[in-house]
Amino acid sequence: GKAEDTGGGSSDSSAAQQVVEPADQNGAQCDLTQYGGGVKKLDLKDATVGFSQSEKEDNPFRIAETKSIGDAAKKAGVKKYIHTNAQTQLSKQISDIQDMLAQGVDALIVAPLNSDGLEPALNAAKAKGVPVLTVDRKLTSGACDTYVSFLGSNFTEQGQRAADQLIKGTGGKAKVAILLGASGNNVTTERTKGFVDEIKAKGSGIDIVAQQTGEFARDKGQQVTEQLLQSNPDITAIYAENDEMGLGALAAIQGSGKQAGKDVQIYSVDGTRNAVQEIVNGDYNGVVESNPRFGPLAFQTLEQFLSGEKVYENIVIKDTEYDPDNAEDGLSSAF
């Protein structure tokens, strides 16, 4: 499976800071004493912090994410900062985390490759009394138990919002083809679920004619769209589970002589600069953002936690969304 988010342009982490959904501010909380076997107070200044990245930094989302956390680490002035990359192999991520524990990290930030299967690593951390903060993908195991808290987007909701955009944009009548992400990837699962359920609930006039995987890759997205448009010419909208596939679809639509954005509308999730740019150009209809800049928020949370304060177990990012009306101004904040 390829990274679920890709795009182009810069990844400077100062732009578009993450803001927290106020709604979630009254969820469960966690502190030193409750987590695992209990953790000793610690000042980030003399802490070694490790970050376990899940997928290759070969796409804007991962690049932005890694960079943002690295920068934040510098800002926080931690004693030592190490980072590993699991290269989309779950077993490697487990190894990575264990290796970092063996190197004596005091706190861990983990971007889980998968919602399940990290138990051995997390248990090891817990046993060592090392707090773990998970970002971008939510674990199914319990917060404040196997990890302190989760901070990231709600992928299901991203799917819902894409559906809402589509319903609005198509006036509630459309034949939609879904470009799925890589099979077996939680992001795929949730963005599909959110979208499909929402269509069922609100889009009576909309029927989903095809669901095919584009493996989060542009060329695959293009090929699949070409095939689908040809065999069912009446498709009027595409929902791509990341911008890259959306851009692939765009190329396919233009190739088929149809007019992208009009004859066939395109909606996708990510918020990469390229996609937003296409909205501005009028060839693209909507993008739901998935903000990768976890650094500042993550370290702020760590700081609070290690200094003994309570932190929320669920810190959900408030993702913006881009449509023809706000794309122009939003472009700068896209990553």
């Binding site: 390829k2 182009g8 796409n59 669901q211 890759a217 542009r218 060329d219 090929q223 065999s231 190329a251």
Partner: protein, 322 residues
């Protein structure tokens, strides 16, 4: 001398199985076509065939090179990485125009080919591992070169390479066709082509007959890498972007499958160019069929597996080894 026959010689046979061994892939192609004509909407349409042709180009071009390497009893896993490398260097040189950019992409392929071939021919490393190393490392280098960024291609000349047409036929399809003919000529009627097959058939004997075995091998891997980098250029032109991270992922497997389904044994000593072309088309059509009928990923993978096995089974020669 029956032993020798068991190991490789293709015995001309009049039986059905013999016929299938030679024409199996074309037969399969026809079957898939017919099935589609009957059960797939809008299948019998010009733009459909043009889509299939356009989409098959990268795999086909790579498979042509792969066929040469397999003919020498070798294999090349690094082709995907080569495509990525080509994609990575293009944006850096596009400033100087399309031609220099493409040339640099080809040079990248040339270098990889030389490394593969050199390590295999002179040191005698087994092809699969030698090229595996470059498969892993090559894409890494590509990403480093590209600064781990994907870049949209604004250069219209290059983009048009992906969209332009010659007499109603997409340019890249024409290119692929020309390449196929060239490879066929190379194999069937050049000294090099015959030497390549001889080296694949019995390397020691070829050496003792004074054939430039090492040169033949290196050339094969260079040609394979060059074709791969061409496929990379085409990929970039098509997508209108340089995406070194995903371009050509797993294409080595598709290419090898196309070659073998096309009737070229992995044991070397034979290259069936048109079989390879048919093999690539077959895989493409199967893929298209499954998408058009919206078959879920799971079943489409299973179906592909079954079809591959059947296609190779009917045209198996005895004693073909990995």
């Amino acid at each position: 001398m029956a032993e020798a026959t068991v190991t490789s010689a293709p015995t001309r046979s009049t039986s059905v199985s013999g016929w299938l061994r030679v024409y199996g892939v074309y037969a399969a192609l026809v079957v898939v076509l017919v099935i589609n004509l009957l059960f797939t909407d809008n299948f019998f349409a010009v733009d459909n065939f043009r889509i299939q042709l356009v989409q098959v180009v990268p795999v086909l071009v790579v498979a042509l090179g792969m066929a040469l390497v397999i003919g020498t009893e070798g294999i090349d896993l690094s082709v995907g990485a080569v495509m990525a490398l080509a994609a990575a260097v293009i944006p850096l040189w596009l400033g100087y125009g399309v031609v220099p950019a493409v040339l640099v992409a080809l040079v990248a392929g040339l270098v990889v080919g030389l490394v593969n071939g050199g390590v295999i021919a002179f040191i005698g490393v087994q092809p699969i591992v030698a090229t595996l190393a470059l498969m892993v490392g090559g894409r890494g280098i590509a990403l480093v070169i590209s600064g781990e960024q994907l870049k949209s291609i604004q250069n219209q000349d290059l983009r048009s390479l992906g969209t332009a047409e010659v007499a109603g036929i997409p340019l890249i399809v024409v290119i692929a066709a020309v390449l196929a003919v060239l490879v066929w000529l190379l194999v069937s009627s050049t000294t090099y082509g015959r030497q390549l097959v001889a080296v694949g058939g019995n390397r020691r004997a070829a050496e003792l007959s004074g054939l430039p075995v090492k040169r033949v091998l290196i050339t094969a891997y260079v040609l394979c890498a060059l074709l791969a980098s061409i496929a990379g250029v085409i990929g970039v032109a098509r997508a209108g972007a340089s995406v070194p991270s995903t371009l050509g992922n797993l294409i080595e497997l598709s290419a090898i499958t196309a070659v073998v389904v096309g009737g070229t044994p992995l044991s070397g000593g034979q290259v069936r160019v048109w079989g390879t072309v048919a093999g690539a088309l077959l895989l493409q059509l199967i893929d298209a069929t499954l998408i058009k009928h919206d078959v879920p990923d799971s079943y489409s993978q299973i179906v592909q597996a079954v079809i591959i096995v059947i296609a190779v089974f009917v045209q198996r020669g005895k004693g073909v080894r990995s």
